[in-house]
C-alpha cells in the first residue's frame, strides 16, 4: 500500500515538473532546430522543463546525477537561464558576446549565488559545422557541496547562441557521461533556421 502510494506520488511529482521522460532515438530533433545523431551513445532520457523557451535536458541516470542541456537558438537579450526566478535577474545573452562571456553566463547560472567555479580549458572548436568553442570546468554549488565537473560546446550562429552543456559529479558519472555527451555534440547539426 505504502509502496503504491510512493509510486503514485513519484509519478505525480515527475508529471508536475516537466514532460514525461522518453528515450532518445537514433536521430533526434532538439528545439525544432538541432538534429542530434545519437548513434554510438548510450541511451538518454529526454526532459523539457516547463516554461523554458530554449532549453531541453537529457539525462542518463537521473537529473540529480547527470544532465545534458541543450540551449537552442537563445536570442539576443534573452537570459541563458530562462527558468531563473525573476528576482534573480539572470544575465542576458548578447549576440556580440565572446566565448569568455558565454563561459561567464554559465558560471553565473551555476554558482552566481555562491560556490566555486574553476575553468579548466577554453579553446576554439567547431560546433554543428560552425566556428565555435568548447570548455571544461569544475564547480561546487553551495546548495549541495558536491564537486561536479562540466563540459560545454557551442557557437553563436546568426546572432543566436547554441550551447550544449554536460554536468555531472566528478569521477565516474562525469567520465562516463562525458564520453557519451561528446558523441552527441559531434553528431549535432543545425537543421533549420529560427524564425
Amino acid at each position: 500500500m505504502i509502496r503504491s502510494l510512493a509510486v503514485l506520488l513519484l509519478s505525480a511529482s515527475l508529471a508536475a515538473c516537466g514532460t514525461v521522460f522518453q528515450r532518445a532515438s537514433d536521430t533526434v530533433t532538439v528545439g525544432g532546430l538541432l538534429r542530434v545523431n545519437t548513434a554510438g551513445s548510450e541511451p538518454w532520457n529526454r526532459f523539457t522543463p516547463d516554461g523554458s523557451k530554449h532549453r531541453e535536458i537529457w539525462t542518463r541516470h537521473g537529473l540529480p546525477l547527470d544532465t545534458l542541456t541543450f540551449f537552442v537558438a537563445v536570442k539576443d537579450g534573452e537570459p541563458l537561464d530562462d527558468l531563473a526566478e525573476k528576482s534573480d535577474k539572470a544575465p542576458h545573452f548578447r549576440a556580440r558576446m565572446s566565448a569568455e562571456d558565454v563561459v561567464a553566463l554559465t558560471e553565473t547560472m551555476l554558482v552566481g549565488r555562491g560556490g566555486h567555479f574553476e575553468l579548466a580549458k577554453l579553446e576554439p572548436a567547431p560546433f554543428a559545422g560552425h566556428d565555435g568553442f568548447r570548455f571544461t570546468f569544475d564547480y561546487v554549488t553551495r546548495a549541495e557541496e558536491v564537486p561536479r565537473r562540466g563540459l560545454g560546446s557551442g557557437a553563436i550562429i546568426d546572432r543566436r547562441l547554441y550551447l550544449i552543456l554536460f554536468l555531472a559529479p566528478s569521477g565516474l558519472y562525469f567520465d562516463e557521461g562525458a564520453r557519451n555527451a561528446r558523441i552527441l555534440i559531434e553528431g549535432t547539426h543545425v537543421a533549420a533556421t529560427p524564425r
Binding site: 569568455e100 555562491g114 566555486h116 554549488t141 553551495r142
Partner: protein, 388 residues
C-alpha cells in the same frame, strides 16, 4: 568615561527612548552564560540540530582556512565579547552576500560579502557586536524555549527558508537561518543594536560606523541591498535604522573620544582575500549594485588596479549605452598599474575588438598571454591573436 551597559540603558531610557527600552530593568546586568538544554527536551533536540549543522559547516569547502585572517577576526570577536569569547566559534564563509549570524550554541558565521563591504574594522565590529548582542541577551534561547515542538519548529524554519529563497542559497546558510530565525523581534533588534554599539564603544571603536554600515548597504541598491537581502529577511531593517543608530552613536561619542576605525589594519588583513571576493561579486552579475559597491570602495580605499578592473568589468557586464566606452576609459586610466590583474588586459582586448580596433585588440590579447601564459583560456586567446 565610558558608560557601562546598565548606565547607558538607563540614560537612553531617560532620553525618551522608553519604547525601545521598555524591557530593560534598572538593575540590568549582562546575563550569565546559559546552560545547554537537556538533551531529551525539545529544546535539546533543536540544539543537537545546530551542533550537527555546525559539524557540517566545519567541513564545508566554503569555510576559509586562512589562519591569519581567522585569527584577525577572532581578535575582533574577543575584543567585543570579552569573557564570553571562549563560547564563540568563528567561521568565515565564502559567500558573496552581506550577512553574519550567531547560533545560540556559539557558532558565528561571517560571510565574505560582509568582509568585502565593510569599509573598516569598526564596521565589521558593528555587525559582529550586533550578533553578540543577540547572543549575550539569549534572544535565540528565549525563542528556543518558546518552541513547543520540533514539528512546529521545523515549520517555523521552513517558513524562514522560503522567505529568503534559501533553497537556492543552500545548506551552508541553514545554521545561520536557524540561528537568526529564533529572534529578531523589533525589540530584540533594537536591544542588539544598542548592545553592539556599547560593545564597539567599550572596545575602542567609533560607534558611528554602525550607522554607516546600514547607510552604505541601503545606498548600494534599492532592490538588492548588495546581496544583503538574506540578512534583511531576518533582520527587519527600516531605512530609519541607520538614523536611529547614528543618534545613539552620537550620544556615546559625547561620552568619550570618538574611537578608532582601523581602516588600514582592516585592509591589510583582508588583502589576500580581495581578488576572490571581487571575483565572487562580479560573478553575481548584478552590475548596477556592484558598480555602486566598487565606486564606494574606490572612494574609501583609493584607486587600485583590482578595483578599477572590477569597475570596468561591471560596466562591461551591464552593457548599457556608453558602458563599453566607459569601461575602456577606466581600463586605460589604470594602464601600467602593477596591481592590475591580467584579466584587465583581456577585457580591454575584447572591448577594443568590439570597436573594430583589431591591432590594439591583438596587442592587448598578447599582453594578457604574456602575463598569464598558462591561463585556461589561453588557447582561445591565441586563436583570437592568430585570426584577428
Amino acid at each position: 568615561m565610558r558608560a557601562t551597559l546598565s548606565g547607558w540603558l538607563l540614560a537612553l531610557c531617560t532620553l525618551a527612548l522608553g519604547a525601545i527600552c521598555s524591557g530593560a530593568r534598572a538593575d540590568f546586568a549582562v546575563p550569565a552564560p546559559f546552560e545547554r538544554p537537556d538533551a531529551i527536551s525539545n529544546e535539546g533536540g533543536l540544539w543537537a540540530l545546530m551542533d550537527r549543522e555546525e559539524s557540517r559547516l566545519r567541513h564545508s569547502p566554503f569555510v576559509l582556512r586562512d589562519q591569519a585572517l581567522n585569527d584577525y577576526v577572532r581578535g575582533i570577536v574577543c575584543r567585543l565579547a570579552g569573557d564570553r569569547c571562549g563560547e564563540i566559534r568563528v567561521y568565515l564563509v565564502r559567500t558573496p552576500y552581506f550577512n553574519a549570524s550567531m547560533a545560540p550554541n556559539g557558532t558565528l558565521q561571517i560571510w565574505t560579502g560582509l568582509l568585502l563591504r565593510a569599509a573598516n574594522e569598526a564596521q565589521l565590529a558593528a555587525v559582529i557586536g550586533h550578533e553578540i548582542g543577540h547572543f549575550k541577551q539569549h534572544h535565540t534561547v528565549e525563542r528556543l524555549a518558546d518552541a513547543r515542538s520540533t514539528s512546529a519548529m521545523a515549520q517555523f524554519v521552513d517558513i524562514a527558508l522560503g522567505a529568503i529563497g534559501i533553497g537556492k542559497l543552500g545548506r551552508i546558510t541553514q545554521l545561520g537561518v536557524l540561528a537568526s530565525h529564533f529572534a529578531f523581534s523589533r525589540d530584540n533588534e533594537s536591544e542588539a543594536d544598542m548592545i553592539g554599539l556599547e560593545l564597539m564603544h567599550a572596545a575602542g571603536y567609533d560607534p558611528m560606523e554602525a550607522a554607516r554600515v546600514w547607510e552604505q548597504l541601503i545606498a548600494e541598491g534599492e532592490d538588492d541591498y548588495g546581496g544583503g537581502l538574506a540578512l534583511f529577511a531576518t533582520h527587519p531593517t527600516p531605512s530609519s535604522r541607520h538614523e536611529r543608530l547614528a543618534v545613539q552613536a552620537r550620544r556615546l561619542r559625547n561620552d568619550a573620544a570618538s574611537g578608532e576605525i582601523h581602516a588600514q589594519r582592516y585592509h591589510e588583513a583582508i588583502a589576500s582575500l580581495r581578488p576572490q571576493m571581487v571575483q565572487d561579486e562580479l560573478r553575481r552579475r548584478v552590475p548596477d549594485s556592484s558598480l555602486r559597491l566598487f565606486e564606494r570602495l574606490i572612494r574609501y580605499q583609493g584607486e587600485d588596479g583590482l578595483l578599477l578592473y572590477a569597475r570596468a568589468a561591471a560596466l562591461s557586464a551591464r552593457d548599457g549605452e556608453g558602458d563599453a566606452e566607459r569601461a575602456l576609459a577606466v581600463l586605460d586610466a589604470s594602464s601600467g598599474r602593477a596591481d592590475r590583474p591580467a584579466e584587465a588586459d583581456r577585457l580591454r582586448a575584447h572591448l577594443l575588438r568590439r570597436n573594430g580596433d583589431t591591432r590594439s585588440a591583438r596587442e592587448a590579447f598578447t599582453r594578457y598571454l604574456e602575463r598569464a601564459p598558462d591561463a585556461p583560456d589561453a588557447p582561445m586567446i591565441r586563436h583570437y591573436v592568430n585570426t584577428l
